[in-house]
C-alpha cells in the first residue's frame, strides 16, 4: 500500500534504427528490448541489449532511454531524458 502503482510494458526490436522487421521481429532477430514503467506522473523506458537464446536483458548495454512527464507532456512528445541529468536513472529504477 505504500508503493506507487506502476504499469510495466515491453517491446522488442531487431536493431537501433528502423528496418522492415522492426515492428514484428521474430524471436531469433530480437537484439534490443524496451522496458517501460508507467506511473501516474511519468513514463520511463529503458532500451537495453537482449539475448533471444538465453532470454536475458543486459542492463549495462543501454541503447536509449526515454522520460516523459504525464502532467506537462501527456502526448509524450518531449523526451526529457538527458544523459547529463539522468545518467543513473536506469540504475536507480531497475
Amino acid at each position: 500500500e505504500n508503493t506507487e502503482s506502476v504499469a510495466y510494458s515491453s517491446y522488442p526490436r531487431p536493431s537501433d534504427t528502423p528496418q522492415w522487421n522492426s515492428d514484428l521481429p521474430d524471436l531469433k532477430d530480437i537484439r534490443i528490448m524496451g522496458y517501460s514503467m508507467r506511473t501516474s506522473t511519468y513514463r520511463f523506458t529503458l532500451w537495453v541489449g537482449y539475448n533471444p537464446v538465453t532470454f536475458e536483458a543486459n542492463i549495462t548495454d543501454i541503447h536509449a532511454q526515454e522520460l516523459y512527464l504525464v502532467k506537462t507532456d501527456p502526448n509524450q512528445d518531449n523526451n526529457l531524458f538527458n544523459k547529463s541529468l539522468h545518467f543513473d536513472l536506469a540504475q536507480r529504477v531497475f
Partner: protein, 418 residues
C-alpha cells in the same frame, strides 16, 4: 455442460482488437460509442490501464495466462507457451476446472502457433472455439476501389450485402455468442464466455453506413503529427503492416519516416472511428441479448482491448511501440450489485443506435485513475467470480502451473465506488 457445482457469477469477457481509449466514456469528443459508454456507466472504469506488449499474440497470452511476456517468452507469434515456457493455466482453464462451461467466440487467443493452432482447446475451452466463416475474406481483395476493381486496401467500407457470404466476421461472432448464451441459459449452466471482436484491427472493413457518423470535413489530424526531435530511433515503429495494403502502397511513402499524406491521414482516422462505431453496435447487440435473456443480474462483464493503436501521433501509425497510445487500453468491469445499485424496473442494457442518439460525453461510471495492468485481468475476474484466490508467482515461475504476476484490482473497486 459444466459440472454444475458453481456458486459464483457467470462471466462475459469482451476482448477487442486494437481498440485504443477513443471512446465517449474515456472523454473522446468525436467517437460515437453509445453502447460501450452505457456499459461504462454501470461499471468500474480504469482510465489508466496498460497492455504488457503492444501486439496481439504476446498481449493476449500475457493477460490470459496472468504472466508477463518475460515469463511467457512470447514476443512474436511463433511459439506456444505450454511447450516453450511453462505449462501455465489460463483464465478460462481456471473457470473450466471449477465447473464452468467455457466458450470462445472470435479472436480471443491469437489464432495460430501461439495458441497451438487450437486456441488452446481443449485446455481452456469446454467446446471447440468458434471462428466466423467470413474471417477468411478479411485480407482478400474485397474492397471496391475508384477503378471499380476489388483491392486489398487499408480503407475498406463495404456494402455488407455485396461481400462474400453477405456478412462480416464481427456480425457472425455476435450471432454465435447470442446463440451460445441462449443455449447455456436453457441448460442453466454457469458459463465463462469470451467474445473476441476483430475491429478496429486493420483492414478497416466495416459497413459503409458508419461513415455517415464521421463526415471527412470534420476529421482532424493528430495533435502531434510529427516525429519528436528527441525520440530515439529504436523507439520508432515504421508501421509496416499499413504500408503493405494496396491503397497505401499506391501512395509511395518513403521508408521508414516518410509521412502519410494529410488527406490519407484523415481517411485512416475516419475509418478507424467508423470501425469503432461498428464494433460498438455489435457490443450493444450482445449486451442487449444478455439483458433480454435475464442474465444481466448474475453475469460479470469485463471489457478490454489487447492494446491501443497510434492514429498519427508522433508521425506513427498502428501499434508496435511503448507509447501510451499503443499500450493504453479501455478496461472496465460490470459487476451486478457491486458496480450498480439494486435494479429497478428499468433495463440495464438496451441497444443504443449510434445514428439516433447523442452519445455521452462524460463517463458517468465509477472511475479509477491509478495505473493498472492487463496482466491483472486473470486474478480480478477470478476473484469477482469468487474462485479460490490465485497465489502470486515466485521468481522464476516457469515450473509453476497456477499463479499470477498480476494482482487483483478489486481493492480499487472500493475507492472507485467512493
Amino acid at each position: 455442460p459444466g459440472t454444475g457445482d458453481v456458486n459464483g457469477m457467470n462471466v462475459l469477457l469482451i476482448i477487442v482488437d486494437d481498440l485504443r481509449t477513443s471512446l465517449g466514456c474515456y472523454g473522446d469528443n468525436i467517437i460515437k460509442s453509445p453502447n460501450i459508454d452505457q456499459l461504462a456507466s454501470k461499471s468500474v472504469v480504469f482510465t489508466n490501464a496498460y497492455a504488457q506488449q503492444a501486439v496481439c499474440a504476446p498481449s493476449r497470452v500475457s493477460f490470459l495466462t496472468g504472466r508477463r511476456p518475460d515469463t511467457t517468452r512470447l514476443f512474436d507469434f511463433n511459439s506456444y507457451w505450454r511447450e516453450h515456457a511453462g505449462n501455465y493455466s489460463t483464465l478460462p482453464q481456471y473457470f473450466k476446472e471449477h465447473g464452468y462451461v467455457t466458450m470462445s467466440v472470435g479472436k480471443v487467443f491469437h489464432p495460430g502457433i501461439s495458441s497451438n493452432r487450437s486456441d488452446d482447446y481443449p485446455y481452456s475451452w469446454s467446446v471447440r472455439p468458434y471462428h466466423p466463416s467470413s474471417e477468411k475474406y478479411e485480407n482478400e481483395k474485397t474492397c471496391k476501389g475508384k477503378d471499380g476493381q476489388l483491392h486489398a486496401n487499408l480503407v475498406c467500407p463495404v456494402d455488407v450485402s455485396e461481400v462474400p457470404e453477405g456478412t462480416l466476421p464481427d456480425i457472425q461472432s455476435t450471432e454465435e455468442a447470442i446463440r451460445l448464451l441462449k443455449t447455456v441459459n436453457q441448460q442453466n449452466s454457469s458459463f465463462f464466455l469470451a467474445v473476441g471482436y476483430h475491429k478496429p484491427h486493420i483492414p478497416f472493413r466495416f459497413p459503409k453506413e458508419f461513415l455517415k457518423l464521421y463526415p471527412i470535413e470534420n476529421i482532424s489530424l493528430a495533435p502531434d503529427p510529427d516525429i519528436p526531435k528527441n525520440l530515439p530511433s529504436v523507439a520508432y515503429n515504421p508501421w509496416t503492416d499499413i504500408r503493405k495494403r494496396q491503397d497505401v502502397q499506391a501512395l509511395n511513402i518513403s521508408f521508414p519516416y516518410g509521412p502519410v499524406p494529410l488527406h490519407f491521414q484523415r481517411l485512416i482516422r475516419q475509418s478507424y472511428y467508423a470501425s469503432v462505431s461498428y464494433l460498438d453496435s455489435q457490443v450493444g447487440q450482445l449486451l442487449s441479448a444478455v439483458e433480454n435473456l435475464g442474465l444481466a443480474d448474475d453475469t460479470v462483464i469485463a471489457f478490454a482491448s489487447d492494446h491501443g493503436w497510434s492514429l498519427g501521433e508522433h508521425g506513427e501509425w498502428a501499434k508496435y511501440s511503448n507509447f501510451d497510445v499503443a499500450t493504453r487500453v479501455p478496461l472496465m468491469f460490470y459487476v451486478p450489485g457491486m458496480t450498480t445499485t439494486k435494479r429497478t424496473q428499468q433495463s440495464i442494457f438496451t441497444y443504443l443506435d449510434p445514428f439516433n442518439i447523442e452519445p455521452m460525453r462524460k463517463p458517468p461510471g465509477k472511475i479509477e485513475e491509478e495505473p493498472v495492468e492487463l496482466v491483472s485481468l486473470y486474478s480480478t475476474i477470478a476473484e469477482l467470480a469468487q474462485l479460490p484466490f490465485l497465489p502470486d508467482c515466485p521468481v522464476p515461475s516457469f515450473h509453476v502451473e497456477l499463479c499470477t504476476e498480476g494482482r487483483s484490482l478489486l481493492p480499487y473497486f472500493d475507492t472507485a465506488r467512493k
